[in-house]
């Protein structure tokens, strides 16, 4: 079987789970596509997963109420062994990429990380992924009775529902006592579309001038066109915007239909987080800014003049 560790939040199956199922089906590997739902009170999530997967395994236990790398790794490895999985797939989220390596070590299996393409190959699978700050595309091959794979969010189209409810089975697990204790949670408050799911993103760099100008120009344009808001590291370091909005090597990786960069110079660390966007738009008064090299559309000009004109044109 192909074992998919379902991602879900607040009772909703995440889009990434349907993407993993698509990746599994596209891989050409044999066996039923099986979703493992770990959590507490996850009946609804299991029902949602059953619309996409051939079968669903459910571990509904209080101690799985919140994610923990040691628990998720132990659970995934046990089920993979019992079911003789040929592939174990996790999301390419922070958590997915945190526990997948532990699963690989437990199973003595190869690990293909953050893949964007996956296909059956002799004795195993071949995958593509990015490396060198997303400037290089690598092809990797792994063989063995089982291979662990994490799937880059947004790289695969979500699978369509099968039109049937796959069967569900409860599973028993032996879980360790988790050693990392969570003593507080600081949830990001998002009143706009989430960055990693936005079709259009407006991002501001130091060139917008100040925290107030960021609100006026970047948020103003995002609201006028229904876009998500991103920020560069320099802006986050300056305290103008929260870390949750940071796009780049140490922030979020995004791949929207359009990425509109206002006053962004285009450092490689930033490009590694947004360089795969379908269309890139740059507005910057510095004609030599590196961002223009990767832009589809560019305007050399003052964001204080161009962006208000864009906002009023978009609204009219």
């Amino acid at each position: 079987m192909i074992l998919i560790i379902a991602e879900h939040k607040d009772g909703q199956l995440s889009k990434s789970t349907a993407e993993m199922i698509q990746a599994a089906r596209a891989s050409g590997q044999a066996g039923p596509v099986t979703a493992l739902v770990l959590g507490s009170g996850v009946g609804d999530v299991a029902n949602q997963a059953a619309q996409f997967a051939d079968q669903v395994l459910v571990a509904d236990r209080p101690e799985l109420g919140s994610y923990n790398a040691e628990l998720w790794a132990a659970a995934s490895a046990q089920i993979a062994q019992q079911g003789q999985a040929s592939l174990v797939m996790t999301g390419g989220s922070r958590s997915g990429r945190e526990f997948a390596p532990r699963v690989a070590v437990k199973l003595d299996a190869p690990y293909l990380e953050d893949v964007i393409h996956l296909q059956a190959a002799e004795g195993g699978v071949q995958a593509q992924r990015y490396s060198y700050l997303a400037r290089v595309t690598e092809t990797q091959q792994a063989s063995g009775p089982v291979v662990v794979v994490s799937v880059k969010p947004g790289a695969f189209a979500p699978a369509a529902p099968t039109g049937q409810q796959g069967p569900q089975y409860d599973v028993d697990l032996e879980l360790p006592q988790p050693r990392l204790q969570v003593t507080g949670k600081n949830e990001e408050k998002l009143d706009r579309v989430a960055l990693t799911e936005a079709d259009v993103i407006v991002t501001g760099g130091r060139g917008v001038g100040s925290s107030e100008k960021f609100g006026e120009l970047v948020e103003g344009l995002a609201d006028a066109i229904g876009a998500g808001v991103g920020a560069t590291r320099a802006v986050v370091d300056a305290g103008w915007r929260p870390y949750g909005e940071q796009v780049g090597q140490t922030g979020k990786t995004v791949q929207p239909g359009a990425y509109i960069a206002l006053g962004v110079s285009g450092a490689v660390q930033h490009l590694s987080g947004m360089g795969k966007s379908k269309y890139i738009v740059a507005i910057n008064k510095d004609a030599d800014a590196p961002i223009f090299k990767v832009a589809d559309y560019g305007i050399v000009g003052d964001v204080n003049e161009i962006v208000p004109a864009l906002i009023s044109a978009a609204r009219s």
Binding site: R102, Y132, V136, A142, V182, Y279, V294
Partner: protein, 253 residues
């Protein structure tokens, strides 16, 4: 306690990288210590300077001969000694974790720092895989850390924001931006570093086998339109850009 801090040498972010014949060609590329690893080196130093009972800070690098330059940087920042396991060719993070776990056991360390994601592999696997090999817990993407007795407290990023955590040693911590400001090596410390121990170790004794074969590496340059719109009249420029986004890119209604 002893701390092991991992050091990887990667291309400078602003340096050009090249591939030829499906292989990376890093000859002539400026190489530096991975910025994420510098946070780990700095944190180890700050824990000691802050009064924690740190007996020794050991650097460990697994990489080709020239990685020694990055190790010297860490020595000049202030770590006590270093071990360099020289490699030739590709070694995947799961294989490298075997070397790290073995060294950690041999040296009796109880805290390991690794970068949150290495800038060559774009991989987050090394810290977690090392923790699993040692049967230790891990805290990844840590941006705040304190040590009291044998207990770490801190904050780290998770899928939907961040969490405060508590964790007893031994543990693996992966580091990132925000944790600290890595120091620059001073000239006297660079001179001192030359006298510090840098022990070479032999990869073959660790039994670290690649489970993943690197088939090829290609630089993918996406052709961009590079269409410049005249910004001298903001109103006209705005109309033109919106027209392109609506009609050509079809990303706006």
């Amino acid at each position: 306690m002893k701390i092991l801090t991992l050091i990887r040498q990667v291309p400078d972010a602003e340096a050009r990288v090249k591939a030829a014949g499906g292989q990376m060609d890093l000859g002539g590329t400026t190489m530096v210590i991975d910025g994420m690893d510098e946070y780990g080196v700095e944190e180890a130093l700050q824990l000691r300077e802050g009064g924690a009972d740190v007996e020794e800070i050991i650097g460990l690098a697994v990489g080709p001969a020239q990685t020694e330059d990055a190790v010297r940087t860490a020595l000049a920042m202030g770590i006590d000694r270093a071990i360099h396991v020289e490699t030739s060719g590709y070694l995947d993070p799961i294989a490298v974790s075997k070397v790290v776990a073995t060294v950690a056991q041999e040296e009796g360390v109880s805290l390991i720092f690794a970068g949150g994601q290495q800038a060559d592999w774009d991989s987050q696997a090394l810290g977690a895989a090392t923790a699993e090999r040692l049967s230790w817990p891990q805290a990844t993407w840590t941006n705040d850390l304190a040590l009291s007795g044998g207990t770490l407290t801190g904050r780290h990023d998770v899928d939907s924001g961040s969490e405060n955590f508590q964790l007893d040693l031994p543990a693996v911590v992966t580091t990132q931006q925000g944790l600290n400001e890595p120091r620059y090596p001073t000239l006297p410390n660079i001179m001192k570093a030359k006298k510090k121990e840098l022990r070479k170790d032999d990869l073959s004794r660790f039994g670290a086998q690649n489970k993943v074969q690197l088939v090829s590496s290609e630089i993918q340059v996406r052709q961009r339109k590079n269409q410049l719109i005249d910004g001298s009249d903001p109103q006209t420029a705005a109309q033109e850009l919106l027209g392109l986004l609506r009609n050509e890119a079809k990303v706006l209604n």
